[in-house]
Symmetry: C2
DNA sequence: CAAGTCCTTGGCTATTATGCCAAACGACCA
DNA sequence: TGGTCGTTTGGCATAATAGCCAAGGACTTG
């Protein structure tokens, strides 16, 4: 893997990495239903607001969400609608896993 | 986010996390063109074979690839063809990022 | 201006991931 | 049976991540 290839896949991997956390995935799922302010997400997630804010920064940095400040609060929205299409595939993965584990247990 | 939701997104996140590493992404991309033995991948990646083996274990554990031992060597192949569909979306993300950065630099 | 709300950043600690080396393992060959 | 090849696993050092608290910045409201 040469340097150029390394860089290319590094950039791609960043997107997946950003999605590779339960809380962030949850938030993306939530944002797929419309924009939310940090306070909303914080309440839904049930973690410290600073934690949520940092997770959102990761998603924003990966180009998955975007933010918009309006008055006192900051609203995040999904910038990459196609991301939601991933989830369907992932469900397939999980279904396959479940099937395999069932087969093992018999 | 209640316990059940947490678990659900935890499982999903594992799939994304597995894809969230340059080397693993590179290997998945390579495997999308056909099965490869560990030795092949090791040479392409240019890391220690033990490192490559562990990366493959992560992918296998996430249900993305599967392995088959034939004689002396182990061949890995893509179990989740739809994963490749992700990449197209990710390209969109990266293109958007590039556009944004270009806009910023002006 | 003062005080309150909403959010981000810095700092710290605990946990997890990464990558190499060395050792173990299983299949094949002499 | 001993040796080699391809692969995995254990162990360790180093780096990256996650989450909380505390502090700071930006707006809004009194």
């Amino acid at each position: 893997m040469d340097r150029r290839t390394q860089v290319r896949f590094q950039a791609r991997a960043q997107v997946f990495k950003a999605l590779g956390h339960p809380t962030r995935l949850f938030m993306v799922d939530e944002l797929s239903r419309g924009e939310r302010c940090v306070c909303d997400l914080t309440e839904m997630v049930g973690a410290d607001m600073s934690t949520v804010s940092k997770h959102l920064a990761v998603l924003k940095n990966a180009g998955i969400v975007r933010d918009e400040k309006r008055g006192n609060q900051v609203f995040y929205s999904l910038q990459l609608p196609c991301v939601v299409g991933f989830f369907e595939c992932v469900e397939t993965v999980l279904a396959e896993q479940a099937k395999r584990q069932l087969a093992l247990s018999r």
